[in-house]
Symmetry: C2
DNA sequence: CATCTATTTCGATGTATGTCGAACCATTCG
DNA sequence: CGAATGGTTCGACATACATCGAAATAGATG
């Protein structure tokens, strides 16, 4: 069975690869990424992290994830909608797996 | 074709997972890991990094990789033989891929 | 407009970490 | 034994970075 896979192959630059590695290295950031991934799409204000860390810090983490190319941010009204860039993430995993 | 795959499945603790993430996040450390992986097994003193960074720093990185469970160190005579722990690495990639 | 909510930006702060030199330990070899 | 080789350990140092509070921005809403 072919579970609606990626259409295109993506190649990451070395810079993006290390940016992603660093982005994933912080547990809090990884937890955020997981929530977004699990939800498919979610508003920033729905993140569990609001119980734990300040809005400023959350915003910072989102920015890191976004600049690494892992997360797409779409402002909609007053909130920010987050979505994982699957193609980029899969490209990262693939490259990592090839060691 | 079944390319001599891993015998057992390994489950990583959360701590080990983040330790590996952090270990991979430094480009220098990742480069070292790649060399070891490419060689299958290699003496520490053969690492290209000796051209770039001090023995002390290399030793530090090896230690990090080892403590994360990614690299096995076996002292043989005066040199240290390095080998990638494939099972651990593959467990990491698998868990990462499942997001 | 005034206010509330969601988010960002800025500056400050404490901690983590990559790096080094120097000293040290272990092994090999003359 | 004494020197050379390969690694490690130990501070020290500089930079990176997670975090915060406060102030700013932007949209919704009364």
């Amino acid at each position: 069975m072919k579970t609606k896979g990626p259409r295109k192959k993506i190649t990451l630059t070395d810079e993006q690869f290390t940016a992603i590695s660093r982005a994933l290295a912080d547990p809090r950031r990884y937890a955020i990424l997981r929530q977004i991934a699990a939800a498919g799409e979610m508003a920033c204000c729905r993140l569990e992290e609001h119980e734990v860390i300040s809005p400023a810090t959350i915003s910072h983490h989102i920015k890191e994830l976004n600049e690494a190319g892992l997360v797409e941010v779409e402002r909609e009204g007053r909130e920010a909608n987050l979505r994982v860039c699957r193609l980029v993430f899969e490209a990262y995993v693939a490259r990592l797996a090839s060691l």
